[in-house]
Symmetry: C2
Subunit: 221 residues, 2 copies
């Protein structure tokens, strides 16, 4: 089962600025749990194709879901090699040179192939995916119908071949590299926040905003 | 030069929920200009690899840059097929069912191959890339050295094979599908905001925060 340390193989080794690589599975889990979307890449003929996908995490596996009618989901379902990147943008790093200007981020790059989730596991996986994006929502919505379940594809990718990179240091700066110290250098933190929720057309006036929506608004405040 | 309409080819056609596809080049440009990072996918052997990259836009081409020592940048520089996705997350769509729950987003998927930017164009491209991420910063920082220029690779990908998708409608809902109308449905808008900028270790106390940082803080407020 779960190992607290992520693997150290040549394939997964970060070559550029290797000190930013982290091997802590908790850091991977925290990053995946915070992110709402990932980007999945597969090969279509000899053309790589990358698309955004909603993600979830079930222990040491990544869950992604889409329509059974989606081309890329059918392609992934055949077990071909794929890669998923999950990236959180944490800030802009203002250095005194363009060269050292950079970004604060946390990113995970996963390589592997997908297995289709079926049977009893599928409904559980959808609960995880729904509550990943909208914590607590699964318990508020009506039950998923058989037709809806059949129209949804859920894929599971093992979190084994994973490389995690965290960039959170201040800008590289030097006493003697010609930087003009009168130029301000530093970090502008970034985060995702929620605005005011607004109701759909068919929501009767006066319907209280769901607890999960209020909780998400507070989480992202 | 620029055509106001994006191409309509079978490769670029959105198969899932085709009404979300838009063919307006202005929508593409606005999305690319707002985004800070993209995700690029290339093939390494028979393994697709997807990584986050900083982006910029020069007219009808996408610019990306990285280290000349980066494996993926060397791979892209040989002209192999690649794909870049740029995604902005605009909100969470709370439907009355898990099935109809979704995300408000704008995304562009670009396919093509990269050309290395060299010579006089390279410095101009770096100015565009820097000011894309941090508007106005290029004019504040010290000049880029020849050594830094040599250590940076800039790639240009034509914005020709591009597919743009915009999801901005309310949740799908029906009078008669068994939805419990007492459940609140609606949208929780999301956006990226800046926190308080903080200075680097070597920035002398009292150094005024740069105008570009103040402007970015206000833009992302």
């Amino acid at each position: 089962m779960s190992n607290a340390e992520l693997p150290r193989t040549d394939e997964l080794r970060v070559k550029r600025i290797p000190e930013k690589q982290v091997f802590d599975r908790d850091a991977l889990n925290a990053l995946l749990d915070e992110a709402i979307v990932g980007h999945v890449a597969v090969l279509r003929g000899d053309q790589p194709v990358v698309l955004p996908v909603g993600i979830g995490r079930d222990g040491d596996t990544l869950l992604i879901h889409g329509s059974t009618g989606s081309g890329i989901f059918r392609e992934m379902a055949d077990g071909r090699p794929l890669s998923v990147a999950v990236t959180l943008l944490d800030g802009l790093v203002y250095a005194r040179s363009a060269f050292e200007s950079s970004i604060h981020y946390r990113s995970a790059v996963i390589m592997g192939s997908a297995a289709v989730v079926e049977g009893d596991e599928k409904l559980e996986a959808l609960a995880i995916l729904t509550n990943h994006m909208m914590p607590g929502r699964w318990e508020e919505v009506r039950e998923t119908t058989k037709k809806e379940l059949a129209a949804t594809m859920v894929l599971r990718v093992p979190l084994e071949r994973v490389s995690v990179k965290v960039s959170d240091a201040g800008p590289d700066e030097f006493e003697d590299d010609g930087d003009d110290r009168s130029i301000w250098a530093g970090v502008l933190p970034l985060r995702i926040v929620a605005g005011e929720p607004y109701a759909s057309e068919m929501t009767p006036e006066g319907t209280p905003v769901s607890p999960s929506v209020i909780a998400q608004t507070q989480r992202l405040s």
